[in-house]
Every structure is written in structure tokens, then in C-alpha cells.
């Protein structure tokens, strides 16, 4: 069974169609990169898996999106519970205006967990998972804004991990980071792969090559090509994919 799957998924914003008949299946414990020019629908596609598109007014979604074989858009699905299965990381590091500790604890607190010891332990494991513990262990009570951009982004990943999701969705997670911080996040993605299924939207094709097992190329709301990353970057089957990855687009 696939971890994530979409069958004939269509997304409409009002009258315009953002995604057309996307069929894609992702195995668990893999990293999948979504690439394509701006506005191709890759971010919209990413947000199908935690129903984040639901927040947008006037959106319509048809087809099936499955996590562990369950249609997450079926009637009666508990959306809040569903979202706990997925952690999301954004383009710009966006820690909450809280302390480093409270940022990571946030997901636990809003889900009604009050056991201080439990929260403390979970916060520590999560921060350790993103290899940030040594850098922040002495300033957990300080504002998250005092961290550098790269540290903030890793903190945001820790925040997502704290609720123990099985899927991590990343929307251009390193586009606001310097090369060193980028390398750290990429390394982290490699390590997290053992425990999570990761989907990454990226504009950096070298990054897609470095971190992902499979790559999906989106163009104008359609899935043009989906294959192993090796195949996409050495021998793409579709001319548009080739033009895009070799930089001869448009």
C-alpha cells in the first residue's frame, strides 16, 4: 500500500483550475520532490495532503487523496486529527512569537496535553531530532526570534515533529536560507527519511537531485512526469521535463 496517493485529483479556485487529474503514488519512508515553474500547482498539490487548501475561500477539490489508503476528503473525516498526521514546514522560517520551548510545545498544548513532564520530554526529543539541542538547550526560555534563520527553520521542523506525524510536507524549506543552513536542512531530510515520508516542493533542482528518491514535474497544473529522481535527471522521458531541468524553458 502506498503512504500517499492521489487519484484524478482536481483543484479549482473559483473558475480557474489549479490542478488537473493528478495521479501520483508515494511509498512510505521516501523523499519525493515536486518541481516545476512558479504557479504550476506543486504547492497546491502539497497542501492537498493536510487539507490546508480548505482554508482558501472558493476552492473545490474533486477526485481522491489517500493517506494509508484512506480517502482524507471523504465525509466524516476529522480534519484536525488528520492534520496531526502531517507536519508542515514553510518557505520562510515562521516560529511563533513564543519561547523556543513553547514553539515546540505548541502542537502538544493545542491538542490538550497538559502533563508538563511529558511535554518537556517530547520537546527535548524533537529538538534533538533536528540536531538543534546543543545550540538551544541553555536558552529554551528565550524568544525563538533570537535564533538565526537556519536555526529557526530547524526549530520549525522540530515543532512539526513534536506531534509525531508520519508525513512531513515541506514547501521550499531552504529558499530563505544560506548555503550552510541549507546543507544542514538537507542532511536532516536524509536522516528523517528513516522515520517519515517526506514530500518537498523545491525550486532548486540540484536540491531535488540531492535529497529526493522520486521527482514529480508539474507544469500548468498537470503532472508531466513522475519517476525516480535518477531517471528524471539523467534521462527524462518528456521533452518539457528535459527543457525545464536543463534550463531551456520558455
Amino acid at each position: 500500500m502506498y503512504k500517499l496517493e492521489s487519484k484524478n485529483a482536481n483543484v479549482f479556485y473559483g473558475a480557474s483550475q489549479a490542478l488537473t487529474d493528478i495521479n501520483l503514488a508515494i511509498h512510505s519512508h521516501t523523499v519525493t520532490a515536486l518541481i516545476g515553474p512558479s504557479g504550476c500547482g506543486k504547492s497546491t498539490y502539497l497542501r492537498l495532503f493536510n487539507r490546508m487548501n480548505d482554508l482558501i475561500d472558493g476552492i473545490k477539490i474533486t477526485g481522491q487523496v489517500l493517506i494509508d489508503g484512506q480517502d482524507i476528503y471523504a465525509k466524516g473525516v476529522n480534519v484536525d486529527a488528520l492534520r496531526k498526521k502531517t507536519g508542515m514546514v514553510f518557505q520562510k522560517p515562521n516560529p511563533f512569537p513564543k519561547t523556543i520551548f513553547e514553539n515546540v510545545a505548541y502542537g502538544l498544548r493545542v491538542n490538550g496535553i497538559t502533563d508538563a513532564k511529558f511535554i518537556e520530554e517530547r520537546v527535548e526529543t524533537s529538538i534533538k531530532q533536528v540536531v538543534l539541542w546543543d545550540e538551544v538547550k541553555d536558552k529554551l526560555k528565550k524568544s525563538a526570534f533570537e535564533l538565526s534563520g537556519g536555526q529557526q527553520q530547524r526549530l520549525c521542523i522540530a515543532r512539526a515533529l513534536a506531534i509525531q506525524p508520519s508525513i512531513i510536507l515541506m514547501d521550499e524549506p531552504t529558499s530563505a536560507l544560506d548555503p550552510i543552513s541549507t546543507a544542514k536542512v538537507e542532511e536532516l531530510i536524509h536522516e528523517l527519511k528513516a522515520k517519515y515520508t517526506i514530500v518537498v516542493v523545491t525550486h532548486n533542482m540540484q536540491q531535488a537531485g540531492r535529497i529526493s528518491d522520486s521527482t514529480a514535474f508539474f507544469y500548468l497544473g498537470e503532472l508531466v512526469e513522475y519517476n525516480t529522481t535518477k531517471e528524471i535527471f539523467t534521462n527524462p522521458k518528456n521533452q518539457r521535463t528535459q527543457n525545464y531541468i536543463t534550463g531551456r524553458f520558455g
Binding site: F233, T234, N235, G247
Partner: protein
């Protein structure tokens, strides 16, 4: 045009120049063998330096493109193919030069009759033609043309087998001149290897265009 495109075009024209240089060497080397012309041999040996420096330049350019432009897909295959074609061409150039060297150092022995009876010049011509054919297929990016080279290489192999038999017969007949006969046999071997290099180049062209790997593919009966 993206900068990588410009760089790849430059690289292509460099390899074509090198190719023509090597092809020229082959033709001149063939002529000097046909006439045992020591002056022409000298010329070929001098030009060998140009081939070597062209090889180094292309190597360096490939390295730069890898490092600076991170080529992928067809671009990646092109640079990889060019890198290998480059070294194949250099080897063919070496073969042309070593035959010229043989002519230059030859003593008074009459090689021509043995060269004629072994059809060595025909082999030479065939090898030189093969090189031109793969150049044509590269320039026109026609992989079918490149495939034609495989058949032609076979004829070259057959010619070599016949030539070997002729040389062995000659040695039996005239054991005095074993050394001279072996020299001719080594030229014939080299020509066969020149043909092999063209075949390798053809394989690289097919890899570049069709992304098909023909190397180490199970072959039909050879040898």
C-alpha cells in the same frame, strides 16, 4: 540562449576541430605508409602535439562545465560522451602517429609487398572512413548513422583476421624476416584498434542521443 548552451556549443565545435585534426592525421599517416614517405611521417609526428594539446583543452572544458553548470539529462550525457569521445580520438591520433613513427624508423626492407598482400591500406582506409562516418553522425545527431558503424567495424575485424593469416604464412615462408613481418602485424592490430575506437565513439553518440547504453551489451558472434 542560456549560458550552458553557449558553453556546450563551444565544446562541440572544439571536439569537431579535434576530430578533423585526427582524421587528417589518419589520412596523412596512410599516405606515408603507402609511399613509405619519411618526410610526411615527420609532419604527422609534429602534428601529434596539436592533437595532444586539443585533448587536454577539451578535458579541461568538460571539467569546467561539470563544476560550473551542473549539467543534467541530455546536457549531462553530452558532456560525458564528449569526455570519452575525446580520449578515443586521442588514441586514434596516437595510432596514426605510431604508424608514422614506424615509417620514419623503417630500414631498407621492402614492406610494400607485404602491406599490399595483407590489404593493410584497405584496412587503413576503412578505419579512416569509420572515423569520418561517426563524425558525420555526431554532427547530424543521427544515432542510426552511428549504428551503421558497428557493421563496418565487423568488416574491419574480418580483414584483420585474413591479414593475420597472410602474415603467418609469410613468416613460415621467410623466417629470416620475422621481425619485419611482426611489425606489419602490429600495424594491422593498431588499425583494428582504431576501428574499435570509432565503435566506442559510436556507442557514446547513441548514449548521448538516445540515452541507451550499448556498452557491454551481449554481442553477436565475434572472433
Amino acid at each position: 540562449m542560456p549560458q550552458i548552451e553557449v558553453e556546450l556549443q563551444n565544446l562541440k565545435s572544439e571536439i569537431v576541430l579535434m576530430w578533423k585534426l585526427v582524421s587528417d592525421q589518419m589520412k596523412k599517416s596512410m599516405e606515408c605508409l603507402a609511399k613509405m614517405d619519411k618526410d610526411l611521417a615527420e609532419e604527422v609526428l609534429r602534428a601529434e602535439k596539436k592533437v595532444n594539446s586539443a585533448e587536454l583543452r577539451i578535458d579541461r572544458d568538460c571539467e569546467n562545465i561539470f563544476a560550473l553548470f551542473n549539467p543534467v539529462a541530455i546536457d549531462l550525457r553530452l558532456v560525458m560522451a564528449l569526455l570519452k569521445i575525446n580520449s578515443s580520438l586521442e588514441r586514434v591520433g596516437d595510432i596514426a602517429a605510431s604508424i608514422a613513427k614506424f615509417v620514419k624508423k623503417s630500414d631498407g626492407f621492402d614492406y610494400l609487398s607485404l602491406i599490399t598482400s595483407t590489404h593493410a591500406l584497405e584496412m587503413f582506409e576503412e578505419a579512416s572512413d569509420l572515423l569520418d562516418d561517426v563524425l558525420h553522425s555526431f554532427e547530424s545527431e543521427n544515432s542510426q548513422l552511428a549504428e551503421g558503424v558497428f557493421r563496418r567495424d565487423k568488416t574491419l575485424n574480418d580483414l584483420k583476421k585474413d591479414a593475420r593469416a597472410v602474415v603467418i604464412a609469410q613468416i613460415k615462408k621467410d623466417p629470416e624476416n620475422v621481425e619485419h613481418c611482426l611489425s606489419v602485424l602490429s600495424i594491422i592490430r593498431k588499425l583494428e584498434r582504431a576501428g574499435d575506437q570509432s565503435k566506442t565513439i559510436a556507442e557514446e553518440i547513441i548514449f548521448f542521443i538516445d540515452a541507451k547504453v550499448l556498452k557491454h551489451a551481449p554481442k553477436s558472434d565475434e572472433k
